[in-house]
């Protein structure tokens, strides 16, 4: 009997036990029958040999040591994450993020040391030496050898401070993705300590890595306009006021010369007649209740308390000192003297209803209503007479030591320089965000930053020549109002939606100052300069629902309106379902479990709005707020509940969770120019915020008055590409012109213009030089 071939013998004895079925199946598919057995035999031998050569065992203590090291690093980064909430764990550890697609400028060789020594770490930086790096650009560091990533990241410092994430596409490449856009027109330095620039083979850089670069100036123009922010029906309410402030419960306080406070009830104001002020009498403080009564003379820097029950002010004596006094605004009670300082009156800020902060000789003091005064922080030093701003809950402070805009974290003592900051910044009502006006390359812009000035990003960039001022947060922190002075136009009020960055002019009124929000965000008041009578108060009723209050005191006021809402609580806590449940009264028809807290930093109750004439049913709003400084536009969510207090227990129903939905409004004119020559034609160019319905653009919506006479035969054209309407007249005689844009002009959504726009010219404008 012929002996079978070897492969048949091998295969015939079945598969070896040490070869797994997948390999048996794999080798069974070999094209040549002989190969099948040979491969199977080889597989068996490989497995056997591998089993006979086990890998070296780990040192008994190594496993425990490595575990301890890992846990130590985990703890360290968890602590950092807690100190910097925006650094969530996954983010901190280098989660790749949406900076993908950012164009890298040509790599600039950046040598750490010259001449380069063999084995030393060197690095090239994508931004090195570039003075005009785009603000959206990631920073890429390319090392000449694989690096110890943790060491590099630990030694990485960027100044001014930038919040960033890191990732390593490979061990030689570190990509730094700023969480927010870099600040325009700022010089940055990326540095790594020499010992931290360590390669996996132990080599280090020969000296500290220092990579300077600069960011390009902003070139963007104003963005679009939110449809929810349009003021309508400006109302003249008073004449002669020089300063404005709303009280907690909605009373409009009129302040003349910064020191006279008088009563002006918003319920009483109307188009006419004007309400005269009891004065003006510079240096006097008036009670706001009943008949105006003088509380103090020679007063300066008067500031009402958050609950508007008291007012603090300084009185200056002949001996060169200033005394801080607090008087009840109701006219009852005595004036308290809290402190005396030498020199002129410093700033004073209320921290809460019972304590204030003021500066004296460069030191900040906190004083209670009983006169007890203590230094605020030893590490904050102000120059003599320097002004300051204080964040809510006194968590941060802004001042300008040696002229340098600086924000202190009063909890840690650390400080951040905020380059380019103009004027005084404003903290959001919750203190979680800082807004300020900065100027980059001659262009004003509104910036948002973290509460301590870090991570700034441009929110709204104006056109060249426009000057911004008077930033004011809306009560809910959703909008920022500003005054914009435009050459040839005047000072107008605008608002910008913080979530989207879109902005709107609030009215066509010019000459405004002292823009203030009403407590619930439903209206704004401002002073309008009058040629002959000083100022008038103008209130702007907003076409938005009453905005949510966001501070405890304001929420308290809201609750006072709905005084029957027993059991409804105000919360300002980290989100958790139990706390949300606490907001709802016992016996609520809404199980707390149905309220999903979501990833919110905090939430607030509430404003309440009566839904029935008998005020037995209220709509209560709770705002849930995520990280307000993040790029995520969905930073806030509303929850609305209906509360029925007609029964013995409040009945809460109608929970609605969703994002705020803007109300539709029409187009707005955001810019206008007029050129021409006496006796010649005049050309108008009107810039709109949104795409127009071209059918509505024409003589039916745009008209021109020349010395009171309607001008015929206007050439009106709409350039859809840039949302520009041009109006060209025939030859016109010298005289006042008035161009009006009104309904039926509408946008592509068929929403007509809400506020007629008028451009008035005293005479035919001069031609633009060179045109």
């Amino acid at each position: 009997m012929a002996r079978r071939p070897r492969w048949q013998r091998l295969w015939g004895r079945g598969r070896p036990d040490n070869v797994d079925p997948e390999l048996v199946e794999l080798f069974r598919s070999a094209p040549e029958p002989g190969d099948r057995a040979r491969l199977l035999e080889a597989a068996s031998e490989i497995r056997a040999r591998l089993a006979a050569a086990p890998p070296p065992a780990a040192d008994p203590g190594y496993r425990a040591h490595l575990r301890a090291s890992l846990m130590a690093e985990a703890r360290q980064h968890r602590l950092r994450s807690q100190q910097h909430p925006s650094r969530r764990f996954g983010i901190f550890f280098g989660a790749g993020l949406g900076a993908a697609g950012l164009a890298m400028v040509a790599l600039v060789i950046f040598s750490i040391a010259a001449p380069e020594r063999a084995g030393a770490v060197t690095v090239r930086a994508s931004v090195g030496g570039n003075p005009r790096v785009p603000v959206t650009q990631a920073i890429q560091l390319s090392f000449n050898q694989p690096m110890v990533e943790s060491r590099v990241e630990q030694g990485l410092v960027i100044t001014p401070a930038v919040s960033y994430r890191t990732r390593w596409p490979d061990p030689k490449t570190l990509v730094i993705d700023p969480e927010h856009d870099l600040v325009p027109n700022v010089s940055y330095v990326v540095s790594i300590a020499r010992q931290a620039a360590r390669a996996q083979d132990g080599a280090t850089a020969l000296s500290n890595v220092v990579i300077p670069f600069g960011t390009e100036p902003l070139t963007a123009t104003a963005q679009g306009y939110p449809p929810s922010l349009v003021a309508v029906n400006p109302v003249v309410s008073a004449v002669g006021a020089l300063g404005l402030q709303y009280s907690e419960n909605g009373e409009l306080l009129l302040t003349a010369s910064g020191s006279v406070v008088a009563n002006g009830n918003t319920q009483a104001v109307g188009p006419s007649p004007s309400v005269p002020l009891p004065g003006p009498s510079a240096g006097a403080v008036y009670s706001i209740s009943g008949q105006p009564a003088v509380l103090a003379t020679d007063a300066t820097n008067a500031v009402p308390s958050p609950d508007s029950q008291q007012i603090a002010y300084w009185t200056v004596t002949n001996s060169g000192t200033a005394t801080l006094e607090v008087a009840p605004l109701g006219g009852q009670g005595q004036v308290s003297t809290l402190a005396t300082v030498s020199g002129t009156s410093p700033d004073v800020v209320w921290i809460n209803d019972s304590s204030l902060v003021y500066s004296s000789s460069g030191q900040l003091y906190q004083v209670n209503l009983d006169g007890q005064s203590n230094p605020v922080d030893p590490f904050v030093k102000l120059g003599p007479g320097q002004t300051f701003a204080l964040a809510p809950q006194a968590q941060a402070l802004f001042s300008r030591p040696a002229g340098v805009p600086t924000v202190w974290n009063l909890k840690t003592g650390s400080s951040v320089t905020v380059p380019g900051l103009e004027g005084s910044p404003q903290w959001s009502p919750t203190g979680s965000q800082l807004a300020y006006i900065g100027n980059s390359d001659g262009t004003d812009a509104i910036y948002l930053a973290g509460p301590y000035g870090s991570q700034p990003r441009a929110l709204l960039v104006t056109s060249q020549g426009v000057t911004l001022s008077d930033l004011r947060y809306s009560p809910g922190g959703q909008y920022l109002t500003y005054l914009a002075a435009t050459p040839g136009v005047g000072v107008q009020a605008g608002a910008v939606d913080i979530a989207t960055g879109s902005s709107a002019l609030l009215s066509t009124t010019t000459g405004l100052s002292d823009l203030v929000w009403s407590p619930f965000g439903s209206s704004l008041a401002a002073l309008e300069a009058q040629p002959s009578e000083g100022s008038m108060v103008v209130t702007l009723q907003l076409s938005v629902p009453p905005e949510l209050s966001s501070s405890r005191s304001q929420a308290s006021s809201a609750l006072a309106v709905a005084s029957d809402l027993a059991g409804l609580q105000v919360a300002d806590t980290p989100s958790d379902s139990a706390a949300i449940g606490d907001l709802l009264a016992a016996g609520s028809s809404i199980p707390p479990a149905t309220l999903q807290p979501g990833p919110f930093d905090r939430f607030y109750a509430v404003s309440s709005v009566p839904l029935s004439a008998a005020a037995s049913t209220y709509q209560v709003e709770i705002e849930l707020v995520r990280d307000a400084t993040a790029k995520d536009p969905a930073a806030a969510q509303d929850e609305q509940v209906t509360v029925d207090v007609s029964g013995p227990e409040p009945l809460i129903s109608g929970v609605f969770l969703g994002s705020l939905t803007p109300l539709p409004v029409g187009p707005l004119v955001i810019g206008a120019t007029a050129t021409g020559a006496p006796g010649g034609s005049v050309s108008f160019a009107l810039q709109f915020n949104s795409d127009l319905d071209p059918i509505t653009v024409g003589a039916q919506s745009i008209s021109l008055q020349d010395s009171g006479q309607t001008v015929a035969n206007l050439q009106i054209a709409y350039q859809a590409a840039n949302r520009m309407v041009t109006v060209v007249t025939g030859p016109l005689p010298p005289g006042p012109l008035s161009l009006t844009v009104q309904a039926p002009l509408a946008n592509v959504d068929h929403v007509q213009i809400a506020v007629p726009y008028t451009l008035s010219l005293p005479t035919v404008p001069a031609p633009v030089p060179g045109s």
Binding site: E32, D35, L50, L70, F89, F92, F93
Partner: protein, 192 residues
Amino acid sequence: MSPSPDNEEALIARAQENPEHFGALYDQYFPQIYRYVASRVRNRELAEDITSEVFFKALRAIGRYRHTGHPFSSWLYQIAINAITDHYRSRRRAEESLDDGPEIVDGSVAVDEEVAQRMGAQDIWDLIDSLPDQQRIAMTLKYGEDLKLAEVGVIMGKSEGAVKLLIFRGTATLRQRLQARRGNVEEDPVHG
């Protein structure tokens, strides 16, 4: 023993929420990853260094790990393979810079022959090292770690079919070299 998929997902989620919970994943997968690394580098100190690097990288990147249904170990293997590759690359560069080129193991035929001349207890590993990179990785994961072909594919970013081809060829090559070491001439070489 690997945890059930649900339990593994829970462990991952906890570690992503709080990095201090990464310890549970470490406890679960240390033996597997250390064994693999040690089998590849066959030096205890080096294996410990690389294993440390693997778990530190995993800890730092756990936040961006997305569970796709594949075992968590696949991700750790990926990190380990990259770390081992990086180690040999950097060592090769260092040796090149010192003009010690002849000692470099780079899978070339010349090295194969050199390796083939060195018989000893570790010869099977030497032979595996002499395979091209992709074959070597597939072979070590399949033969050394007993992983399923599909999981090897996940780790290597290849289809199962591609992995089969790599193992088919790798096995055939090793067989030839084992035969060569024995001084035998293959009478019927495998077609591969």
